[in-house]
């Protein structure tokens, strides 16, 4: 039972490390797998505690750990699957094949940069819009 809880904790916190790698960031399959394993351990522990209380202890701690684990899993799921997808659709974005809207913005050094200049000086330009506030 305690092992199950430990695995659930590991499942949640290992994401902080695995988020560096695109394979485990885009879809956190390692974390979900760990959650599943931890859940199985907890389930077996709870079954033992309630099925044969004369041999195994831990009815109360089992319930506490089970509820905590569910809460951790819920938060993890919310954080990785709900919060990160809470962005508006970009239905108004220009499609491939259309002209890119020109712009003039200042760079980090305060220098004015025009899209027209960028494409003149390069074969292509990759515009990366990001959320900011880092």
């Amino acid at each position: 039972m305690w092992a199950g809880f430990a695995i659930v904790l590991l499942a949640a916190f290992s994401f902080l490390y695995l988020i560096q790698f695109p394979v485990t960031r885009d879809f956190p399959w390692v974390n979900l797998l760990l959650f599943a394993v931890g859940g199985c351990f907890l389930a077996v522990g709870l079954k033992r505690a309630f099925g044969s209380p004369e041999r195994y202890r831990g009815k109360i701690s089992g319930i506490v750990l089970g509820v905590l684990s569910l809460a951790i899993f819920g938060l993890f799921y919310y954080g990785t699957f709900v919060l990160t997808r809470d962005i508006p659709s970009a239905s108004g974005a220009p499609h491939p094949g259309t002209q890119a809207p020109d712009f003039t913005l200042s760079d980090a050094g305060g220098k004015s940069v025009m899209l027209a200049d960028l494409i003149r000086n390069n074969r292509a330009v990759l515009l990366i819009f990001y959320r900011g506030y880092w």
Partner: protein, 102 residues
Amino acid sequence: MSEFRSRGVEIVAISVDSNKDSRELCSSRGYTFPFLSDPKAEVIRRYGVLHPRGGPDGHDIARPAEFLVDATGTIRWVNLTESISVRARPEAVLKAIDALSH
């Protein structure tokens, strides 16, 4: 990074951050490509990637997105992610760039 340069492709980052914030970000992370500041989200809006009140204090920000613009100013490839943690991978962008020349 050098793979983009060797293909003649400039990377340009755009956000609502101020010049000063971008300068700090560049120096702390060692980024060498231009970071453009769009504090009023005008260009972000023009590209249809506005996330109204998505910022910490209710400010309008950009949703993550990538546009590949060729030398004629035509958009050739777009990536509009569904999730802020899923960004375009460099390999995918390089593939799109290589497809331009064919």
